[in-house]
Subunit: 196 residues, 2 copies
Amino acid sequence: MTATRRGRPGYDLESLLTVAVTVFNERGYDGTSMEDLSQRLGISKSAIYHHVTSKDALLRMAMDRALDGLFDALERTRRLDAPAIDKLEHLVRTSVEVLQDRLPYVTLLLRARGNTEIERAALQRRRQFDRYVAGLVRQAEADGDVRPDVDPATTARLLFGMVNSLIEWYRPAHSDLADAVCAIAFHGLRTREDER
Amino acid sequence: MTATRRGRPGYDLESLLTVAVTVFNERGYDGTSMEDLSQRLGISKSAIYHHVTSKDALLRMAMDRALDGLFDALERTRRLDAPAIDKLEHLVRTSVEVLQDRLPYVTLLLRARGNTEIERAALQRRRQFDRYVAGLVRQAEADGDVRPDVDPATTARLLFGMVNSLIEWYRPAHSDLADAVCAIAFHGLRTREDER
């Protein structure tokens, strides 16, 4: 933690957010009250309000942490001077890294169902990301670099379905995960295509 | 619906279960009371109890509906006289079909976090399924039929991560989904391996 320590001793905004996101993931955002956060943090509600104006503000910060990571990966991909297929593989790889680095935040994002205004805004940004991925698949297919027998939108969903499944089972012990995802998704599991 | 109509007019056990699972998926099992079900169904709680002894009983039936489908696919795979790689592809294909056929039930299963005894028992059966898949990947790798650069347990998780992502985005309009999943997972997205 390198964030500047502010306010009451014991928590800065960064460590408070970390705990809040853990509790949101355990109990659901709707099922978590400021009272629950206060108990888990071991500080009063007014000490929490010293750092943030509302529970919503914590949710917004958490969603932004996830989305900013993904959109940073998207922007780096967009700037690459490379065919769409390579951009797609780059984006899959960097997205896996974002999920690994920001797992609790992305978990919260991917479980959001649009119950609040903040969740709906986050889901809208997610859809923008998904549309960019589908566009890359479409372009790669037009270039003849992606198998033509799969629909681009479906492919985009399956690809990121695999990536996003990390939130269900990833533990930091899994190394080389980005390599594994790209190996399976782009080259397939089977070693022997021609002999069969 | 072919289930025999029983009890009060308007609902048999099958249609009651269908509505209950929809509500569980919307509000979460823990967040749904018998009163909520009664309101949604438009019948009294005692009319519900005419069909089932408890909310738990509905959850158990729903979990079994999902797990029985998946284990039926597993048993059919086990009986195949084929190399592990083909068994694996068969199981992926039939699992996609189970998810399509029993989507609300599998959705409930995959979102279960082990908060109740019934959920914990269901998660244990899920882990049995996952172990069988990992064993198939391991065998296929030993046979030289699966790329050796990915860990079998990770491969199993990524493969079913892709399959299970269906619960987030599948709509009945998606046809040939099992073909798309198998094409990507077993043969990879890239058309041109050698030219690069």
